[in-house]
Amino acid sequence: MKAPRYTLCLVALALAGSAAGLLLSHAAPPVIHQAATPTPSDSSAVAIVRHAVTIKPGPATPTVLTNALNRSGEPVPVSCSTCHSTRSPNIERHSAAELTEFHQGLAYKHGDLSCLSCHNASNYDTLRKADSSAIAYPNVMELCGQCHGTQLRDYRAGAHGGMNGHWDLSRGSRERNNCVDCHDPHAPAYPRLKPVFAPVDRGARQQQERAAHADKESAHD
């Protein structure tokens, strides 16, 4: 009885592992802490299948908006490397406001960082870590975590960042937001927004209902 269940565990783990590997291909500290290994010595003999916790990947190809508009009136994005593979960067530039082509209007409010703190001048299709090693865009969380250690700690503990799916990983999977799903990396403070679903004022509603009722009555007369 035990063997097939154990095999099931292994298969589930392999699946979970490969999914996690896809998303975090770097030798990052394991953000997915919940993917605990069920021990085969567990004598309760109930097949504990741990479903995967996946993290939405960051953007695949970095782009910047151009001044050109498409037919729907939206600005056309162009891949960074379109220009940057042939042009050498000016390392004295600190923010988009100082640039004269392509990057205008890019809101920039992220501490004292300059463009090349995070962007990799030797390959604009990647990002750059503090030790000047390149890091792929989908792994952007590792880059953010270099400075925002407390947030990364909380994130790993499941106490920072939105999620969907299951609290009980033995019954289903979970999908978690990436840093840049909620924070614009160029202006990371969470934006102000209009609240939804204002409470209904009971007094005002009753007045409206009475007025509607009175209208009906007078229509009958």
Binding site: A159, N164, H166, S170, R174, L193, P195, A198, V200, R205
Partner: protein
């Protein structure tokens, strides 16, 4: 006919008429209620076969009254699970998406805009709810304020349960305080007893358009409630007892909400309780909430 007989007949007629008038509300009430419903036992006395019949009846009634095909289940508490919820006040921006998600998930009356969650815009430096405001409409967050959503705290010492005269509300093994909507007599003692105003009364028969009805329902949680009974947050037990996260958590755009099993030492909620500055609302009342608030800094 003697005068005496005539007076007797007149008296009897008047008496009968007065009696009929007095009991008229009962006949009216009985007309809205089937015999099965009237004879239905308390939730905890229903056998699985009884429950299956009750659910079938409720599903049929929903089809007749609302035109919607719904599936009502009766998930039980999982052994080894006690639910806890924590909310990060450093992160909540007061957008009220949780309250909206609750409204839709739990098939609340559309007209009154009911929700189990109220979001308070609070003065910094106090947790006095009296100074909070729930009717703000300006862009949030106001940097001078902080935001505190309040819903059922699923107390371990629940005043609402103690005051119920008919035991229509009780605390389940996984910590959820539930209501048997078919046993509740609508006296509203529990509403008065709750220090968090977490309970709501169905003043009217809830109005929900057919296409907006959430068909995934449970007997003790989000099935459409009858008129004249109390209702409350159940931590979405129709979801959470199936291992899923509550609707308000999934709707939160800032990730301010943390949900999980308090009995699992490796759970996210336990990490928050061990590592963050945590408080419970109105601790001095001794209600022992399973709902916690915390700060990042």
């Amino acid at each position: 006919m003697s005068r005496r007989t005539a007076l007797k007949i007149a008296g009897a007629t008047l008496g009968a008429a007065a009696f009929a008038k007095a009991v008229a509300p009962i006949t009216q009430w009985a007309a809205d209620q089937s015999v099965d419903e009237f004879l239905q036992q308390h939730y905890r006395e229903l056998s699985p076969a009884d429950m299956a019949k009750v659910i079938e009846r409720l599903e049929t009634e929903t089809k007749i009254d609302y035109g919607a095909d719904v599936h009502i289940s009766d998930p039980k508490p999982q052994p080894g699970v006690k639910f806890g919820y924590a909310l990060n006040l450093s992160v909540c921006v007061g957008c009220r998406r949780c309250a909206e998600a609750c409204h839709k998930e739990n098939n609340h009356d559309r007209l009154s805009g009911n929700s189990y969650i109220r979001v308070f815009e609070m003065q910094k430096g106090t947790i006095d709810l009296e100074q909070g405001n729930t009717t703000y409409t300006h862009a949030v967050p106001d940097p001078q304020k902080y935001y505190m959503p309040v819903q059922c705290q699923q107390c371990d010492n629940p005043p609402c349960v103690h005051v119920c005269p008919v035991e229509a509300t009780w605390k389940e093994k996984d910590g959820i305080v539930v209501v048997d909507y078919n046993w509740c007599i609508g006296c509203r003692y529990c509403e008065a007893a709750c220090p968090y105003h977490a309970r709501r009364f169905n003043w009217t028969k809830p109005q929900v358009p057919q296409e907006e009805i959430n068909p995934v329902q449970a007997y003790l949680s989000n099935r459409i409630r009858p008129q004249g009974v109390m209702e409350k947050c159940t931590f979405c037990l129709h979801r959470t007892r199936e291992g899923r996260l509550p609707a308000c958590l999934e709707a939160c755009p800032t990730g301010a909400r943390v949900f999980g099993n308090l009995l699992d030492p490796d759970s996210e909620i336990r990490w928050v309780l061990a590592n963050k500055r945590v408080f419970v609302l109105k601790e001095e009342l001794g209600t022992k909430p399973s709902f916690f608030y915390f700060f990042d800094k």
